[in-house]
Amino acid sequence: MACPPAAPDNSRRPTKRKSLSSWLEQEKIFRLIPFVLVEGFFLLLLAIPFILTVYISLLKWRANRPFERAYFDGFGSYINVLTTEDFWWALGRTFYFAGAAVILELLLGFFLAMLVYRQFRGRRLYITIFLIPMMVVPVVAGYNFSMIYVDSGPLNQVLSPFLEMFGIDPRVRWLSHPIAAQWAVILADVWQWTSLTFLIFLSGFSALPQQLTNAARVLGASRWQIFWWIHLPLLRPAIIIAVVIRSMEALKIFDQAVLLTFGGPGTATETIAFFLWRQVWMFNKYSFGAAASVLLLIIFSFFIFYGIHLLVRERAVVKEG
């Protein structure tokens, strides 16, 4: 084994003054500096509170009483959460909202990206317009939609010819009807986040290799065949990313529900985030909230790890070629 002689290692003879910086210069130390910084930061800011939460979830404590009067209660809060019907309803509603919104966003985003990815006049303008909702503050988007859905708003005005045809008073109160209110929240989400799926698909479409398409055309493939057998498989990573990123974000849905309907009418638009917020910040049920967060984290971690798994697998496929 004829190894070439190793290059003289300069870091081995530091002067006394520079010993700290040269210690930091070593690869095994240097590579870990940012890692330790960031992980330490996360540990201090997120891990400690979480341990605290687990502890509080085992107590019986309402915040209108001093903390000293809290007493150990075992799994009482957990049982309390699991037997609260509203918790399960809110959770189910969150998945329903997220599912409906994400499906619509994916279909719309894909369709729009397909129409826009090739060069034509006005393409850049359309792309600019389509990306605007992403930049709008979600609270403002919720406000905008509350303005549009209001009983004497533009939506009712546009619909009024149809409504009057059926003898309905055109000033429909959309946000007072449970199902209409739910769809109002979903559509506000679709309005805002179709821009993100559009962006992801657009970057996928623009990265499609032209040679494959040309080759297939020369061999006589139809448009449909090219799309189904060449473009769609190549777009798989983009689709997976869009699904994972959007589902994760959609499950957090909160802003629109607060601004549009404040959970109402009744509890028709109460998502899990809104439900917990109300329990903790309006009813001061701290132990309940802590137990519910722990449970939610457990429930969500399945989805999160499945999502991460999908991303990792896609990455592996791309690397292998």
Partner: protein, 323 residues
Amino acid sequence: MVNNARSGRSSLSLAKRYNFFFYFRHVVLLVWSTIVLFPIFWMISTSFKDSGDWVAWPPNWMPSFLGGGYEPTLHNYRQIFTFTALGEELSREATEQAYSIWGALGDSASIASISSLVALLLGTFLAYSISRFNVGGKNFRYIILTIRMVPPIVIAIPIVMYYAVLIPHATETLFQFRFSLYDSYVGLGLLYTATTLPFVIWMMLSFIDEVPYTLEHAARIMGSSRIYTLRRVVIPLVAPGMVVTFLFIFILNWSEFLLALTLTQPKVSTMPVLLNKFQSAVEGRLYGPQAAIGTVITIPVVILGVLIQKHLITGFSFGTIRK
């Protein structure tokens, strides 16, 4: 040319097919553009309406100088931009009161910009380390995303207890003075840094991965230190990427609502929280001032977004889309 060869099979002539597709595409795109722009148009027009026109039936679409039905007024803007000290001459009626936004605007801008900057520096450094040395293992870049995926309400409840209970308790027993991060700039800023770090790492990874390693290698051989290499070779090459990343996470922090709502009352308050206060105002909804606030916080961000739009596509490929 290719289409020529195929048009024989189709019953429509090439020109007709082309025309149909041309119109179809533009109609669809125009419809979606209208849907996208309408809520923003409506907000801006409401912000110029006087209180009687907010929810008038039928709604007024255009200002009077364009042949529409409402007199445009700057009243809403005057209300939100008055300093509270100056607001005394305004009457007690809800639609006439002054709602100063200066405090919230300052809080929002300072918290969002400083926490974004800290996240950018930390995240870029870590992204460099992940890209070059594979710190934390092969899949670390995915594991870091989990922090972003946890719903903020699950973070908010522990953090409130940490900030409002544990830290004051601990500092009181250890140093005999009460220190609370609840309702403070630092407390909210730290959390914003933590929640945007995953995005910084992701976006910066896609930029840093493109910098050829040979450049750094050359610099190292010529005797530059690691920090110097990072500062003088790598950072200048990814600077545009850093700007884009900064603007992107600034938008995220600027528009964050849940954490701001739960962690800051009443001393610190950000713009989204302020906007929400109007929504639940006891006097009934104040659509005009709200629309003015919405316009003020949306327009700068949209302009920033349009400026970085071209680079967003690179940042959002999330490293899995081949160039």
